[in-house]
């Protein structure tokens, strides 16, 4: 894969005394400390990464992490304080105004969170805006704008005004405006964040479909991990102005660089919204009431259902322990009266129903057995197996 955009040691310092801030940065002070001392804000600090041709590169981070600033330095809407941005081998940071305007007109287009359409222009004129500015003649730019509108499915609305369209449709116009000049790079600043979730997913799908047809290099800002995982070929995670990790979604989830990155992973809706009790399943594991069922009968019941594990409860349905067909068999073979108590698996620990899924996740992942869930009174509610967990994550993720 060819390198499209190379970002080298990029810095942005807002405020009157950047040099002072650099000194403090070198001393290792944090963003907040420097702000307190000098009143200058570190927008981006020492960001380096490479964006490959034709990939969707998602820049993720909380608000204030510098992701918008970083992306705006690619087309110099914000002037970098130090460092280089190299696009197709050309140093953008060294370009004069004329070359920069050519770059913006022909090679990069941008899509904005608030759509930023011109309310006094019709949809087709909005889509043709970049071409108009570039001096393309009217007939030709209308033709290309219509083709772009066709790509986003808005050809029929060409003569409407933006205010007559829904949010999703307005952002399609924003996308068409960016596509009209056929740029090789698309910068998308939280482009779908203002849309409601259903439309957002739809727009993501559409972007992926467009990307399949014409591979552009897309730099996509997002604060939403679900979105990043869905559309990103690679993700860069920013924290306090610095790029802390770059990798494929899988790499980032399986091997987060630090707690901040991990917090995004835990921040996925499912694990916050659900707790253990919500997904505990009764059907996966057989339940045996200790006083009423003998060890032998329990073993037979397990074999009958083809299961490996059973939960043992007392008469009040309170959880007592978990047994496996192996431990039960051992008890039957042994001398003396077979006892449930001695057949309990040792490394099984029940979890309370209100434990957040984020914590349950690791327990289930580490355990060889299903994890039993109990309510506040110790009553057995169900178990969480790896299968149940994966299904839950899959449904909502």
């Amino acid at each position: 894969m060819a390198e499209k955009i190379v970002i080298e040691n990029l810095y942005k310092i807002f405020g009157p005394h950047p040099d002072e801030a650099f000194e403090l940065l070198e001393k290792g002070l944090s963003k907040d400390e420097i702000f307190e001392k000098t009143g200058t804000t570190i927008g981006v600090r020492d960001a380096s990464c490479t964006i490959n041709e034709g990939e969707i590169f998602v820049v993720m981070g909380l608000s204030g992490s510098g992701k918008s600033t970083l992306v705006r330095m690619l087309n110099r809407l914000i002037e970098p304080t130090r460092g280089k941005v190299i696009i197709d081998g050309n140093d953008v940071t060294a370009m004069d105004r004329k070359d920069l305007i050519q770059l913006r007109r022909h090679d990069m287009a941008m899509v904005f969170q608030s759509f930023a359409l011109m309310p006094h222009k019709t949809v087709v004129d909005n889509a043709a805006f970049g071409l108009e500015v570039a001096g393309v003649e009217k007939a030709k730019r209308d033709e290309r704008a219509m083709a772009a509108l066709d790509q986003v499915g808005l050809k029929a609305n060409a003569k409407s005004y933006p205010s007559e369209l829904s949010g999703g449709m307005q952002q399609r116009v924003g996308l068409a405006r960016a596509l009209a000049s056929d740029p090789s790079i698309l910068l998308m600043d939280e482009a779908f964040s203002a849309l409601d979730p259903l439309i957002r997913t739809e727009m993501q799908d559409e972007l992926l479909a467009l990307q399949e047809k014409e591979q552009r290099t897309i730099v996509f800002i997002s604060h939403d991990l679900d979105e990043a995982m869905r559309i990103g070929d690679r993700i860069a995670i920013m924290q306090g102005g610095a790029v802390v990790q770059v990798g494929t979604p899988e790499e980032i989830v399986t091997n987060p660089a630090n707690d901040y990155v991990r917090s995004f992973f835990y921040g996925v809706d499912v694990s916050q919204v659900f707790s253990a009790g919500d997904i505990a399943d009764r059907k996966q594991v057989t339940v045996v009431e200790r006083p009423g069922v003998s060890v032998r009968a329990a073993l037979e019941r397990l074999r009958e259902y083809g299961r490996d594990y059973a939960i043992v409860t007392d008469r009040g349905r309170r959880y007592m322990g978990m047994v496996s067909s192996e431990t039960l068999t051992q008890q039957l073979r042994g001398d003396g009266e077979p006892k449930y108590a001695e057949a309990f698996l040792e490394d099984v620990e029940s979890v309370p129903a209100d434990m957040p899924l984020a914590e349950v996740l690791s327990r289930v992942a580490e355990s060889r057995y299903p994890v039993p869930v109990v309510d506040a009174d110790g009553r057995y509610m169900g178990s969480i197996t790896k299968t149940v967990l994966l299904q839950t994550l899959d449904k909502t993720g």
Partner: protein, 281 residues
Amino acid sequence: MAVEQINIPIGPYVEYAVDWVQNNLTGLLDGISATIGFIVNNLEDFLLWVPGWLLALVIIGFGIWRVNWRFGIFAAVAMFLIFGMNLWEETVSTLALVVASSIVALAVGVPLGISMARNDLVEMIIRPVLDFMQTMPPFVYLIPAAIFFGLGKVPGTIATVIFAMPPAVRLTNLGIRQVSKEQVEAGLAFGCTARQLLFKVQLPLAMPSIMAGVNQTIMLALSMVVIASMIGAGGLGNTVLTGIQRLNVGLGFEGGLGVVLLAILLDRITQSFGQARKGKR
């Protein structure tokens, strides 16, 4: 030293400055006078040359087209009243003064507003000047205007321009500054030059605000034109002034009514231009 003994001679200083301007900037004053005189006189001649019924029809037509048919009827009644009071010539003369001074005020005010919006330093300097211009009692402008330009329509127009300009400047500045940051960024991101950004993004988006400024300027011009009759600007103001001087209530009222009718017509028609743009949003 007692407080009453302090004497800061601001009045004499101002007199001195006015004298200096009069003696040393004669060429500039003559130039301004010639330009403004040319605009006002030609406009007035033209409006008086057009047959009265035709001008009335045009105004009624504007009323129907820009506002609605009911306003057209109102315009017709207003025209009829003005004819009936035998104030047609005075009204047209006032209209010419208002239009001429508004054109000059906008020609100066809008670019000034644009430069204010683009540069914080310029804004910092101009803002207090605007405050000064707006709060100074309008009569005060008559004195230097009369000294520099004598009596008649030209000093009347100049005093009016100064009095009517601030809202055009302010609202142009405000309108451009209110254009959202992302819209400006969008303009730049798609490769606008500074000039394209101004004409394709900032001015069109500021237009409702600028049109409100235009409306305000025209209204202020109308009110000042009446006052300017004291230095011989003529028109309806003159009728009112004569009414005051002779304590002739009827005449004064007729003149006043003419001003009110003209004000309503101008206000509604100019407002409609600002709203039409909003309607498309």
